[in-house]
Amino acid sequence: MADYQELFRENAPEWPYPVNYGKENEISTDVLVIGGGVAGCHAAINAAKRGVKVAIVEKGATVRSGSSGAGVDHWGDAFTNPCSKIDPDQLANRPRKEGVVPLYRNGIVRYITMRESWDALLDVEEMGLEFRDVEDEFAGAPFRDDKTRIMFAYDYEGKTNIRVRSGAKIKPVLHKELKRLGVKIYDRIMGTALLTEGGKQGGRIIGTMGVNIRTGEFYIFKAKATVLTTAQFSGIWVFSTEHIGFASHLDDPNCVGEGSAMAWKAGAELTLMERSRGPVAGGFNWPRFGTGSPTNTWYPCTIVDANGKEVPWVDRKGNVLKTLEERTSNWQSAQPTPELPELIRRGEYVLPLFADLPSMPEHERRAIFGLMVGNEGKTRIPIYDIYTRGGFDPDKDMLQTPLISREAGGEGLGPPMWRTGAAGGGWSGGGLVVDWDLRTNLEGLYAAGNQVGACSGGHPGAAATGRYAGRKAAAYARTVDDTVPDRQQIDEEKARVYEAVGRDGDIGWKELHAGISRVMQIYCGEYKSDKMLRTGLWWLNSIRESEAARTYVRNPHELERYLECLTRLTVSEIIIHASLARKASSRPLDFKRIDHPVPDPPEWNKFLTVSLENGDLKIGELPDNFWVLPPYAPTHRENYEKHCGLED
């Protein structure tokens, strides 16, 4: 007995699902959706409503997976709801100021979201999700429109953010609708590689291949049109299951980047892959939304210090906002003073801090804890249910809050841990380049949600782009015939997928994952340079040849996790290629090049694209507002109306 693993292998019960590695299942459909989150469900539903055959492939369980699988508390960008006071066109067409650094937000996604966010919310209402205050629990509250019973969040004046009363049930509602419409759902199947016409890189996308993570069986999906709605990559820089807090706040561990890696290998253009996220809301410390975070779910909760002294709220210019009303009509800029850490160091405020729910008016308290915390992702059970069972009384108790640099740090003055690359929430990270049809540069391949490069839409962005891409894919599918996949492409992918099965390896997937993340922290971390990035590429390649080729796989679940590590190697390589290509630092991209330290020189205010062409790396570029430049029309509205597909 060399080690305990051997002992356990010999005595372990057998895997509970029937295992059949490599057995082929072939499915033919008109529209294939890869990724069963919010974007994928809306895409599939909208394609199916147009009368085409639709299949959805999901690595987890469509009923609950995705960034909003555990719920949604507010639905933003609902600019077309009957109470909205903000005109999306005015917002979209604000004149660009000379010399201003771009935010690198995808204007196509943004505009589609502003136009269709409300429609998507009405869609889910029709499916059975009650988002309005149907029981009049909040009658008379300043955030409620008494005629429509819509409740608004954050900004009670502009009225574009809508509280979602039963948001915890959003995915089960979408799932039921998929079934009602006859969409074929293939859960527990991880897409591993796209099928291209003739097996050629850059060719038309004609479906995908995948592996069942319970049985190990192989799947071949033939499709006329494919919509990629997989998650943004995550877990690239940090991996630990021992460091608790990791799993409780950090992104869904299933968000690996298969979509980006698959599309990359097929020849798709990706952009902003060099973007980092820097220190962000949430770290390694506390349950998500479980510590009174007043800039999001707990907005606009009053924060007090250990002696009950209230922390002032300020606007962007530093003006103190004296009343609660000022906070809720000023959301874009209202926050507890960012000088708080300094004030604590000077002894003016005493730790620990608390979110003072009891001091809030009843309707605000109930909206914050009962509605928002009660329905946001990962909060109904983990926070509302567990805290209240454990004795927390929102009417009487003040929750301890580690409020430093938003809710990033620990309690006190500790700096937030630098990390980057997150899925969910839509933070304008790396992903696929799309046009006004939400089509990628590859014929037959559409994208929606966080899979789109620079997508910053969050839940409504996923829903709106999903319904749009579903329409476009359905329309395209009607124009093409079935194509026979290339047998060689299938055989090569099968060889890759099953290479590790039965191999006498000595490294588990967790060590492999941690090793890849370590390389990315060291060689592609906060401070980057040409030499370090190139050394990082060497390390990744070396790991692929050595440790990745010695990783063992003992069941289909470990096969999944091992293949995810191979995906992370690919995603990491793309990130380094993109980082090498951007030879300038950038503040909005949180991108720091030691060898090119000057931030945002005007000539670098552009999107860089990376792709493979005949196996070779190709770097391209796009203007920072390419979506309103030729060949497109000069305004968002014109492009939208020409492409949105609502006329047919």
Binding site: Y4, F8, P13, E14, W15, P16, Y17, G60, A61, V63, R64, G66, G69, A70, E137, V164, R165, S166, G167, A168, P172, R188, R214, T241, E242, I244, G245, A247, S248, D252, P253, N254, W286, P287, T291, D356, P358, R366, G370, V373, G374, N375, K378, R380, I381, P382, D385, Y387, T388, R389, G390, G391, D393, P394, D395, K396, D397, M398, L399, Q400
Partner: protein, 114 residues
């Protein structure tokens, strides 16, 4: 206290140890929890008619949907790992409590909105 001198050759426990707990008395063996889990933290029991096994507690995202979707209240529950348990102060009395403490204050029973 009666000590059993029998000891076992076992690896270290995964962390967190048991974020998800199934009560075999209440569990109706429907496998909904296992089948709705995005991460496959639970697997069906190889022994037919037995509750699912929490096989990969270290992969749990602590989202709680297994608890939400369970048809039998109390049959499955989630617990935050010890390092994740928060504290709070009762405004009127200044008493300090925490999640998981011995003799906690009584539960607050009003359900969430929606």
């Amino acid at each position: 206290m009666k000590m059993d001198n029998k000891a076992y050759l076992v690896p270290n426990p995964a962390t967190p140890c048991l974020p998800i707990r199934i009560d075999p008395e209440l569990c109706i063996r429907c496998n909904i929890c296992a089948d709705q889990c995005r991460t496959d933290v639970m697997v069906h029991n190889p022994v037919k008619g037995e509750p699912p096994i929490v096989l990969y507690p270290d992969e749990c995202w602590l989202c709680g949907t297994c608890v939400e979707d369970c048809p039998v209240p109390g049959a499955i529950r989630m617990e935050h790992p010890l390092s994740q348990r928060v504290g709070w102060k009762r405004k009127e009395t200044g008493e300090y409590f925490r999640l998981g403490m011995k003799d906690p204050p009584p539960p607050y029973t009003r359900p969430p909105v929606g």
